[in-house]
Amino acid sequence: MQIHIPTPLRPYSGKQSVVHVAAKTVAEALTALTSQFPDLRKHLYTDEGKLRAFVNVYLNDEDIRYIDHKENAPVKESDSLSIIPSIAGGTPVAETPVHATAPAAAALTPEEMGRYSRHLILPEVGEAGQLKLKAARVLCIGAGGLGAPLTMYLAAAGVGTIGMVDFDVVEASNLHRQVIHGTSDIGRSKLDSAEDSLRAINPNTKIVKFETKLTSENALEIFKDFDIVADGTDNFPTRYLVNDACVLSGIPNVYASIYRFEGQASVFATEDGPCYRCLYPEPPPPGLVPSCAEGGVLGILPGLLGIIQATEVIKLILGQGEPLVGRLLLVDTLAMRFRELKLHKNPACPACGTHRTVTKLIDYAEFCGIPPKSAEPAAVVNCVPQMQVTELKRRMDAGENIFVLDVREPYEFAIAQIGGHLVPLGDLPQRVQELDPNREIVVQCKSGARSQRAAEFLAQNGFKRVYNLAGGIIAWSDKIDHSVAKY
């Protein structure tokens, strides 16, 4: 009988398009073929000896999988056997859900042709890619350090719709890194200020403002009109919220975060890749990782990381290159080193694993161990009584014998202080004998977070009358003495 060899397999059949074999069954014919041309074997069969899934074998016009006796079907000398590898494929749409619902953009206007000309001559972008960008809808969570360069470059690149979620106003301390805002914007809403900057860069971009805190109640509603989310948040509850909402909505989460001189970036929640919970199933205890306000940050760092995020967003939209899926990029600006860790999708992940328990958005503050804020300030947190700045002032004015312990760093002490005794938090365990365990001690830092940990440490080490100064030196400056510098 005849066996027809398809073009791609002819290098292994001595370039013959038809091979004649003598056989009584289909299986015998295939065995005769592969014993005559052993190189064909690995192309037709798996290591386990099964016919490869994409190889179809047809006896005359019938697929042998659907005929009686299958491979053991009898054959005649006049029959012919055809080997047909499958022909299939598809657009990138099924791999990254970008544009799953977005219609393609209209053709570029002459103004856009000129504006994007350096994109258009890149084969990887071209007119088709620029139209993708124009049709794309990207949501940025936060209009701060990461959101600033991210949205500015996305607008410049021609992303059609940029959504922004933020509810802060611009403060002077933002300006060393949030380059989307200027000095004259201090006191304005961040979204209004950002909108002005983005319009100045590219009036074609549609800006959608969500002047609200992102919550479990509104996240899915906001996310539903976007193709990609870029997470530029500065706190853990919102980061888990963004992750879970992305997984539930099937939207990729382009993530970056920063800490002092270091940053990390990845792409989470794609169909095949890991999510943020695969990397960090549990949040760190509250207060362990300081925010930018607590720990400080090199102003340029969010610029660098925000632009890495923007690059990943553009790549996802274009369907070009290798996205940061399953990889965590670590950036150390002091050493100026970029490293990469492999991430794996965790089959047991509660959000994106095989047995998901996160099927709706939860209370993320509670998940991260942050007590709910009540209208009344908490009187006791983790067994440490809290003292308000007004109470401390009253007792100091009354001449009470009260010891104020300042656990900030010396350089902070040099900027502003309220007469406390300086023992930095890190030195406290070695220097604890400097303190009198029987005296009333009020522990103080910048915002009340580090001092809470110091007070908890003292309470565990036999100090009986320890208070945490709620709100720290910031609250003191706000409510007692404006001449104390806020930094």
Binding site: A88, G90, T91, P103, A107, A135
Partner: protein, 168 residues
């Protein structure tokens, strides 16, 4: 080393692109018949095939093996071989996708992809009426097996129509 090219005439090139527009918003697909050579594959005929992926035709294509066998038999009778396949990417760039590579098994064959862009409007009927083929690129499946296969960009040479000869 230069990647061998794919040659075709304007008439086949246009036929491939028109098929992409006609199928929009679904993917078009077809088989390229011709002759394979050392420096290039030459297309003599582009045969449209039906997309069997009716479940997800807008982003998947598949050619039924029966149809392929029929096309292959006809090509043998005309002294030609299968030298490649074409399909369209509605609203996506003319570049192979991960799925395209995973599903490509015809080594030495060309995979021609045409991007067909709709026209911004949300209304699907209107978009379909105004869609147009944008880019067409060709990729050669190289490698020795499933483990090391690659789709490499290959030169696509479209010749101007040859003048008709007396006995054509």
């Amino acid at each position: 080393m230069n990647v061998p090219g794919l040659r075709m005439e304007q008439v086949q090139f246009e036929a491939i692109r028109r098929h992409g527009e006609a199928a929009y918003p679904d993917e078009s697909c077809g088989v390229l018949l011709g002759r394979s050579g050392e420096d290039a594959n030459t297309v003599v005929d582009a045969v449209p095939a039906s997309n069997t992926r009716t479940d997800s035709a807008h982003n998947r294509y598949s050619i039924a093996p029966q149809e392929l066998i029929r096309i292959q038999r006809e090509s043998r009778q005309r002294g030609m071989d299968i030298v490649g396949f074409y399909h369209s990417h509605p609203d996506h760039p003319a570049h192979w996708s991960k799925t395209d590579l995973a599903e490509a098994h015809w080594f030495g064959c060309s995979y021609v992809i045409t991007s067909v862009m709709g026209d911004g409007v949300t209304n699907e009927d209107e978009r379909t009426a105004r869609c147009r083929a944008v880019e067409t690129n060709s990729f050669l499946l190289t490698g020795t097996g499933e483990e090391d296969k690659r789709l490499e960009t290959q030169p696509l040479e479209v010749a101007a129509p040859t003048p008709a000869t007396a006995n054509a």
